[in-house]
Amino acid sequence: MLILLVLACAAMGIPLLALWGDGRRGAAMFIGFNTLTLLAILALAIQVLQDGAFTAGGGQFLVDDLSIVLVLVDGVVGLSTAWFSRNYMLHETVHWSLSRRRVRLYHAMFQTFLATMLLALLTNNMGILWVAMEGATLSTVLLVSLFRTAEGLEAAWKYFILCGVGLAMALFGTILLYFAAQKIMGHGADALLWTHLAAVRHQLEPQVMAIAFIFMLVGYGTKIGLTPLNNWLPDAHASGPSSVSAVLSGLLLNVALYAILRAKVLVDGALGRDFASHLLMGFGLLSLLVAGFSMLRQRDVKRLFAYSSIEHMGLATFAFGIGGPLASFAGLLHMVSHSLTKSSVFFSVGQAVQDVGSREIQRIRGMLEFSPLLGWAFMLAVLFILGMPPSGLFLSEFLIITSTLQAQPWLTPLLLLGLGVAFAGIFPRMQGMVFGAHQEGVARQSVVGIIPVFVQLTLVAMLGVFIPLTLVQWMQHAAQLLHG
């Protein structure tokens, strides 16, 4: 029941925001719905804590140790984004003179996006998972082009076509999965339920599953931004509102990787571990390296951090490719910490871009001087994303490197190279942006909007120093689930 309650809380907001979601009222409603959703998610988490994994709605919905962790992150980042979006959008509305209709569209589409993300995580049906992913894409397309600039339109078109075609591949993979499942479970709606598929995964036809997995990897991989399918990602992050960049990086990429992980469990059963492992390791490492080197030549601050998202998702994908309880645990920890940290980065970057009036790194100078709290928020968030202790990313990267040394030692230098280059791409620029004297014409605004940054960074620091025992157990169980 609680699963349905969570989804209802998230979905209820869509029509109401579409009708009345403009101005301050809309922002308040947006925060309200996300608070409700977070409360429902917490209740769900408590139930999972007591009863373990369970299904609902005649087996159509599922919550287990893997999904509950990501659902919790969704809830937290959703509420933070709603909070940040309030001040941010009030300013953007004036700056771009957005009509009331456009603001309603923004809130309704944003809520649709959050609801489809939750649906993707909570459904047990691999077909509905696809439908939810496609829904999430469609709802963010109009958000990317919200300001109707030439650049925004171009980015949104690219996003729509590339992700649309990518997801078409994932649908073909899902059809093939159903094709393989039919042989064992017969025709019917149950043959796409993940729990049923996982029960018979050793009997699924290996050849069909191999092709199905490749299609799903390419399809959902487009959404994760795995190289060479990452073309849309920096553009969409840079052109859209910063609140949208925060959830694209923080939530959408995670959910796409989650879809691949669900498929991986099935294909591991049919083919043995090596097949999916090698693919994930290859794609992950390639993304890490290419994104790292691309960062060196970025001049736009939002593009810089968009590439950083590709780098981190590549690292997480690589970790799941290494496999084994330790690396899978590290991969999950990395996903969670990255979500919380990267959305914080985008909140503070969004605010800084508004203050300065430009996205160019060269022009954003001396944040500590013109807005000390914002400067601190940005500096801490960036240090955390670079994997400085006590960030949770430090722990996860440490674990990933250790397990690589054990499992595939010759890949360690490449891994370190990627991380080093990414560090070199971000750290010096962060210094310039935070310290020094600021330029003329900075319009400093209220920093109320970036309060969630400090909350989220505290959570990330907690993940790095002392992870609550419940969370450790959930992630360990999830790692075992992924290990098969």
Partner: protein
């Protein structure tokens, strides 16, 4: 899924014929220069799809597939082509499709893609019963041909037609190779297709408003620095 021997005798050849028609239409779209004809071909593909779904419904006796066939006919053969047609007129897009590659070369590439699709689908085909043999290959070929069309065209509308043709190929895979996906999934997919189409329509007007043209060359300004 059980099919009667009688059904096998006439139903399967008919399904194969429809599959062949689908592939033929995909090729025709690849070779077509005029936007208007392109949309007509897309509509015909929708008709073939609906007929294929109805045939599978008849052969297997699944009532929900009749619903699916009706939905396909309404959406893919009538509604979407009509709206595209109107858009074309309201936006006053004239003239030929500008292709990046010339047509004969594109067709040759298309033939290579079909061979590739069949060899990729060969291990799957080997496992299927007599009913669905070859269907996966044809569906995959139709998808890849639509892909090729998207890559080689510049106008926004022809890219959208390619996008919808990919959808058609996938839908054919779902109905003919697996004899129908679960209803809830099919409904979801149809809903997504519809929403996607509405968003595309909104897009057209935005692109038109901003650039005064539907040529996608206008959308090539973001450069890596």
């Amino acid at each position: 899924m059980t099919i009667t021997a009688q059904g096998l005798a006439w139903g399967i050849p008919l399904l194969r014929l429809l599959a062949a028609l689908l592939l033929l239409l995909a090729f025709a779209m690849l070779a077509q220069r005029r936007l208007l004809t392109l949309i007509h071909l897309l509509a015909w593909q929708g008709v073939v799809l609906a007929a294929g779904t109805a045939l599978v419904a008849l052969l297997t006796g699944q009532t929900e597939l009749w619903f699916s066939a009706a939905l396909t006919l309404g959406l893919k053969a009538i509604l979407i082509p009509t709206v595209l047609h109107r858009l074309l007129r309201r936006l006053q897009v004239h003239g030929d499709v500008e292709a990046v590659l010339n047509i004969p070369l594109t067709l040759l590439a298309g033939i290579a893609l079909v061979i590739f699709a069949f060899s990729l689908a060969a291990p799957i085909t080997a496992l299927t019963g007599p009913v669905t043999r070859g269907m996966v290959g044809i569906a995959l070929a139709a998808v890849l041909l639509a892909f090729l069309m998207m890559i080689t065209r510049r106008k926004a509308i022809s890219q959208v037609v390619g996008f919808l043709a990919i959808d058609n190929g996938l839908f054919f895979a779902a109905t003919s190779a697996t004899l129908g996906m679960p209803m809830i999934v099919e409904l979801g997919v149809a809903l997504d297709a519809l929403i996607g189409f509405v968003i595309l329509g909104v897009f057209f007007f935005q692109i038109r408003e901003t650039f005064d043209s539907m040529d996608l060359q206008n959308l090539e300004h973001i450069r890596e620095e």
